[in-house]
Amino acid sequence: MDGTHVAPEPAPQPGRFPVSVGWTQAAIAISSVMVLKTPMNLKMNIEMHGPLLIDFEHHAFSWSTPLEHFPVDAVHTGLETIAGGPDAPPLFELPGKDLDGLLWQIGLNSFDGKPAFWLSSGERYRLTRWPNLTQHSHDMSQVKMIAVLGNAYVSTEELARYTGVALDEAQRLVNALSLMRILSRSAEAPAAVVVQETAAAKRQSLFGRLRKRLGRSDG
């Protein structure tokens, strides 16, 4: 000890929102509200980025921070549920922004590449609809993974293997699509039959050559 006085950390105040960094707590809150299917909205206070308002009924959000500048390490200082429904005043001026874009970013940036808490081991996944990729910032490995999920039930491990993507990146994508509620989950779906080896497919891939030609060699 050098004798310097260090003030003790203030004790947390009971009943207050625990300050959290990152988006895992937000993802859990959103998923919990969406599952309830009740007219309930959310307000999140985010340090330096102002309040983030979500209207689930209209599948919309309002936030002063553009998604192009999505703060991966945002500090959340408060979370509030607000009653919705036909008699409630609008949370913000509608139509707002499409909630899918926000869910995409939150899903990709939560759970640190581990499975979202609402997913179970042993499941396979398949898309129920494609995300609107022209509106979501994405890389080419995500396009490949989405194309796999659009055509077969696969586990996260299979998804990573078929596309040559790291497991945590595959998991982030599954988390995001699942938070957007555009993945169907099955514990019974059998492994998909692959008729074309992935190595051979990679060699012959027009996608691979074209993306380089078009300046999209990421992922």
């Binding site: 609809r129 494609w130 022209t134 796999v148 055509n151 039959v193 692959v194 027009l206 050559r209």
Partner: protein, 189 residues
């Protein structure tokens, strides 16, 4: 030389010509004439023959982009070109009188392209008018073509980045469908 033909289809005014212009590396060959259907689309000229553009992948490989006329009186061209195509980008303008009906019509006409390749649907002018939502299009697809999972995106045909995303999503989807045996490699070539 290896060639891959991609068709751009959809009703008049959906943005087929503009989309090809956004993607093509050569000056697009365009043939236009007076619009005889101005009661449908208020546009002085419209495509009545092929639009053609291309992307050179390398010295021995190119992607040929064909925009084909949206009017049904030119459907003799549709049958010629769809036999050669690997995939299709179907563009539907959100401000058309019946955009979902247009999507269903063109998808029916070109269904064989889905079966032996792939299709992506691009909804244009979605930011201009409050037309059907993407969910509406997806539900209509499920109703008319159960089991078909076709990518549906909003797109601005003038935006090259967006058009590149659409084209690459189409190619990725075709290749994954081949990988899982939903189409055969011989048929996609």
């Amino acid at each position: 030389m290896a060639e891959h033909v991609i068709l751009f289809t959809g009703p008049m005014g959906a943005g087929k010509t503009t989309s090809i212009q956004s993607l093509s590396e050569i000056e697009v060959v365009r043939t236009e004439a007076n619009n005889s259907e101005r009661h449908i689309v208020d546009k002085e000229t419209t495509t009545v023959a092929l639009d053609y553009g291309e992307i050179l992948v390398d010295a021995d490989e190119k992607v040929r982009l064909y925009g084909i006329p949206g009017q049904q009186r030119f459907n003799f061209m549709w049958s010629i070109l769809k036999k050669r195509a690997k995939g299709m980008i179907l563009l539907v303008n959100s401000d058309a009188p019946d955009p979902i009906g247009e999507m269903t019509f063109f998808l029916d006409e070109f269904r064989e392209l889905y079966d032996r390749g792939g299709v992506v649907i691009g909804i244009t002018r979605a930011d201009v008018v409050a037309g059907p939502s993407l969910d509406d299009f997806a539900k209509a697809l499920e109703r008319t073509n159960p089991g078909l999972l076709i990518p549906v995106f909003t797109v601005d045909p003038r935006d090259r980045d967006q058009m590149v995303n659409v084209l690459l999503a189409l190619i990725a989807n075709i290749e994954m469908r081949a990988m899982f045996g939903m189409i055969t490699e011989a048929e996609t070539a």
